[in-house]
Amino acid sequence: MKIIVCMKQVPDTTEVRIDPVTNTLIRDGVPSIINPDDKAGLEAALTIKEQVGGTVTVVSMGPPQADVALREALAMGADEAYLITDRKFGGADTIATSYTISSAIKMLDYDLIIAGRQAIDGDTAQVGPQIAESLGLPQVSYVERIEKIEEDKITVRRQFEDRYQIVEVKLPCLITTLSELNEPRYMSVAGIFGAYREKEVKKVTFEEMKEYVSEERLGLKGSCTKVKQSFPKQAKGKGTVHEVSEDEAVEIIMAKLIEKNLI
């Protein structure tokens, strides 16, 4: 089974803070990680490979620094890694991103594509389905469990707010995974050595892709949305804090609940 995993390197948003003076994001010193939903997708791919054999290829689009994330994937056990990187790809929204990634994937061989449901920096959940659309593949998103993998089909459990579906889908297809799908393995020491000494991260630039893409659909130019303005979230006006006896506390809460018509 040939599996492609789409991955994104993201800032660990749990470490992102707002500078109280300038009201801007402090990104310095914020560690970069493999996006959690994608890492679960990689783990799922590695597990499938262990079960039925095959190869796991990781693909990421991003700046040259994303090399580190791909090395981590190699150290976890991925066989091949491609970094889609070029200034021409920069500033892309989800439509341009999915166009670029799917164009690169067209140059590869695959039975199954796994992408994380969403990245924690953008939270859009759009690129996976848009890649599937570009490649004309069936998709199942929000996969919380892989039930069965067979030669020509995969059965997964698809999460909704109030239910789940058990869905069988023929290969090739694309699934998007939730981080609760599994606990991703750690890199092994031998894996880390291998990732830097034996394996390589292959760069895919515009030069390699130019026969397969229209330049006007890439990057900022190819985007269908534009950020008009961004601003830090307005802090809510500070409420009141009371350090009082338990009975007084209950009285204060009751008064508020009644005032707000909540009971």
Partner: protein, 338 residues
């Protein structure tokens, strides 16, 4: 006429023929936008044996309802729904198309955007019409809620967005409203059903959808032991709400993941959020700070939860919560309609 894009189409999410609240919320918002644009709001009602529900969509504010009714649309599957929505968009040529940012909307809308192809803005919490240009301004949180971004569509029409549940307000139902119902044949065939749904299991996964709850009593590490969740349950019952938890408790296995509030859990915006023993890590705050009214009870007076709380109580929740439950019980008994 061919190049004129006007009106607002709202995807009416239904499960088992039941229209989801998020769809009515978006209809309510679309109504406001339509007044500014002087155009119509059209619900796109897609499902099986669903036509009878069209009047409900009109009662909540739609001017017209486009119905795609087909056996293949009985359960949600990406391809048949995508084909149906694309057909509605091709037929009606709307200026704006909106979807709920739900497990269905976030699967469907990107697929539609890829097929058209045009832009899509995810998870919007605010929609406005720009003066002068009449462009749709779509505002959404990014970077785990640390940053807000206002986005405009620069691609082909329609301008598309998914909208977070619980943010917009539905209108009051008005059964005297009248509107046209348009039936659209999306030309679906069995070949469009490119996945096989073997089983649909309801409820078991998520007994309670906390993102829909009006009142949440939420527990964090500060509750101490798992047994103390029951006092939160009692308070929630008395308030007519549900129990949710922080990531710490979900990770510890005190509660199922579906009840977790926060960046890696659910985003909630109840009318009342009672945070009990939750310190308020930024990932947690990202998931609940839009609640209308927040009460925090915590021993540590430096806990960040107090920064977002409307009412903060520094104290021992294991003492305060049961007393509060009793006080509410007593109040309700005294004020009961006889």
């Amino acid at each position: 006429m061919e190049n004129k894009y006007e009106n607002i189409v709202v995807f009416i999410e239904q499960r088992d023929g039941e229209i989801q609240k998020v769809a009515l919320e978006i209809i309510g918002k679309a109504r406001e936008l339509a007044e500014k644009l002087n155009c119509k709001v059209i619900g796109a009602l897609i499902g099986y044996n669903i036509k009878a529900k069209a009047q409900d969509v009109i009662a909540y504010g739609a001017d017209e309802v486009a119905v795609v009714d087909n056996k293949l649309l009985e359960h949600y599957a990406t391809e048949p729904y995508t084909k149906a929505v694309v057909k509605v968009i091709e037929t009606l040529k709307p200026d704006i198309a909106l979807y709920g940012a739900t497990a269905i909307g976030r699967d469907l809308a990107p697929r539609v955007s890829g097929r058209i192809p045009t832009g899509l803005t995810a998870d919007c919490t605010k929609l406005e019409i720009e003066e002068g240009t009449n462009a749709l301004l779509m505002t959404r949180p990014a970077f785990g809620g640390n940053l807000m971004a206002t986005i405009i569509s620069t691609g082909p029409r329609p301008q598309m967005a998914t909208v977070r549940a619980g943010v917009m307000k539905a209108m009051k139902r008005d059964d005297s409203r009248k509107g046209e119902i348009i039936e659209i044949d999306a030309g679906l065939t069995d070949a469009d059903m490119n996945v096989k749904i073997l089983e649909v299991v309801k409820g078991e996964n998520k007994s309670v959808d906390i993102s829909e709850a009006k009142i949440l009593v939420s527990g964090g590490r500060g509750i101490g032991k798992k047994e103390n969740l029951s006092m939160l349950r009692e308070l929630a019952d008395e308030l007519g709400g549900e129990v949710s938890v922080s990531r710490a408790l979900a990770d510890a296995g005190y509660a199922e993941k579906a009840l977790q509030v926060g960046q890696t859990g659910k985003t909630v915006h109840p009318n009342l959020y009672v945070a009990c023993g939750i310190s308020g890590a930024i990932q947690h705050l990202a998931g609940m700070e839009d609640s209308d009214f927040i009460i925090a009870i915590n021993k540590d007076n430096t806990a960040p939860i107090f920064d977002v709380a409307d009412l903060g109580i520094v104290g021992d929740l294991t003492k305060i919560v049961p007393k509060l439950t009793e006080a509410i019980k007593k109040y309700k008994a005294e004020n009961a309609v006889k």
